[in-house]
């Protein structure tokens, strides 16, 4: 199986590649459209801000490639946010693979932003990506912006408001948390993605 990790310039790229290695997969870190187009699985990691991340994808000429990819595609953290129409962060148009707009998590008494740490997943749909991930499993989040709970949301999480912890629409999916840093729960999600695609 050919697994491509998009070299989106984010700081978590090495961690994502190492996590795949721990699962026995030698992924190719790439900014090459041809490699991404022919991969069996594509991961889009991302840490940082939406505008520079989209600028980087445009610079690499990957925006159209990612829109047209037909293999299962998994966005991670900022990579998941880039799947949506747009982000309020820097008022940035994104890939538009999922309808909706990413927004800043609101302030609330006793709630700290960024949302940083382990929080509970609330699975909403029985999809293969969530096989073995039980209600109440915890995952590691680090973010200030989040996607709304829409029809594409397959698992929710709550921090000042309910937001999409995981999304899936057809062959496109995303995790707001860091599966590469979410112990067994994260490894399970990555393994499901590698082995089962997005059924």
């Amino acid at each position: 199986m050919k697994v491509a990790v998009v070299d989106s310039g984010g700081a978590n790229i090495a961690s994502v590649c190492f996590a795949l290695q721990r699962l026995g997969v030698a992924a190719e870190l790439t900014g090459d459209a041809a490699v991404i187009r022919t991969a069996d699985r594509v991961l889009l990691p991302g840490v940082g801000a939406a505008a520079p991340a989209m600028a980087r994808l445009r610079e690499l000429n990957l925006v159209q490639t990612l829109r047209e990819v037909s293999a299962p595609l998994l966005g991670i953290c900022l990579g998941m946010q880039l799947l949506f129409d747009s982000s309020d962060e820097g008022d940035t148009p994104c890939l538009g693979l999922l309808p909706g707009q990413v927004g800043l998590l609101p302030d609330a008494p006793g709630v700290r932003i960024p949302h940083m740490g382990w929080n509970t997943l609330e699975p909403l749909r029985a999809v293969s990506l969530l096989d073995g991930v039980d209600h109440g499993a915890q995952a590691y989040f680090v973010h200030s912006y989040a996607a709304p709970v829409t029809d594409d949301c397959i698992a929710a999480c709550t921090h000042s408001q309910r937001f999409a912890a995981m999304v899936q629409r057809g062959h496109v999916a995303g995790a707001q948390f860091h599966p590469e840093r979410s112990a067994s729960t994260g490894a399970r999600v990555l393994r499901n993605f590698l082995e089962k695609g997005l059924a």
Partner: protein, 263 residues
């Protein structure tokens, strides 16, 4: 609901994990990778590695062990030690660290915090503050704490620096209360409460853990997001699974320890 985090702190010197008392007299505790794995298996929520001699020796952290740790563990970890530029931080983050923590270099040049936040986002940028109460009752920051012969008192008030660090783009604050560090008499609740009142980003308590009660107290009374400790974990005196069980019983939200690790 967001869990309160337990963070073992691993002070690194010459490639080994060491522990001192009140930032002095360090002894070797063990190898970096061995301890990282052990804490991961015991249910630590995050790890912090401080290269304690990097800043006093005017060098940056050694990225080779950062990469080895990143390959090995599947929980987040933060690295501190002589990171004084965006390029230093990039090397550590690209080696696989999730966050970088700056302390002395940010005091020398506060704009470093702005630059790091702009380059990587605030979520990667932790500001560590070493703080001690002076004779006049004010908490003030200390610099070069990795080397007692070079440690310096600054005129900066701890709470003023916390507010400035946050304004410049710190995504998390670690407050090392040096007066209580290493002596296991409990966290400095008064200082942490004062910090909490001003800190809108996650706040990590550091210095003073001796008993399970101390952890419960710092979460319940100072409302910190995470508690960092070293000697009580290194010595095995407090085991993380037992601590989490205890905290859950006191009504504090924690991440359950995983029974079966391999997925």
């Amino acid at each position: 609901m967001l869990s309160r985090r337990l963070i073992p702190c691993l002070d690194v010197r010459d490639g080994m994990v060491v522990k001192g008392v009140r930032f002095r007299d360090h002894v070797v505790v063990g190898a970096i990778e061995e301890l990282a794995l052990r804490y991961r298996d015991e249910g630590a929520d995050e790890l912090v590695f401080y290269d304690i001699t990097a800043s006093p020796e005017q060098r940056t952290v050694d990225r080779r062990w950062v990469e080895r740790v990143a390959r090995l563990i599947d929980i987040p970890f933060c690295v501190a030690g002589g990171i004084r530029s965006v390029a230093d931080a990039r090397a550590v983050l690209h080696a696989g660290a999730d966050k970088i923590s700056v302390n002395t270099p940010a005091l020398e040049r506060p704009a470093l915090i702005d630059e790091l936040a702009a380059a990587f986002g605030v979520q990667c940028v932790v500001v560590g503050i070493d703080s001690l109460r002076d004779g006049d009752g004010e908490w003030r920051v200390r610099q070069y704490t990795g080397d007692p012969s070079r440690t310096r008192a600054l005129p900066v008030r701890t709470l003023d620096w916390l507010v400035e660090a946050q304004r410049r783009g710190a995504g998390e604050i670690v407050l090392n209360c040096m007066g209580t560090d290493g002596v296991r008499g409990g966290y400095d609740l008064a200082q942490l409460q004062a910090a909490r009142a001003l800190c809108r980003v996650p706040l990590v308590a550091s210095g003073g853990a001796g008993t399970m009660d101390h952890f419960a107290d710092v979460f319940a009374q100072a409302d910190v997001d995470a508690a960092l400790a070293a000697s009580v974990f290194h010595s095995g005196e407090i085991a993380i699974p037992a601590l989490k069980h205890y905290l859950a019983g006191r009504g504090i939200t924690v991440r359950p320890v995983e029974i079966a690790d391999a997925p």
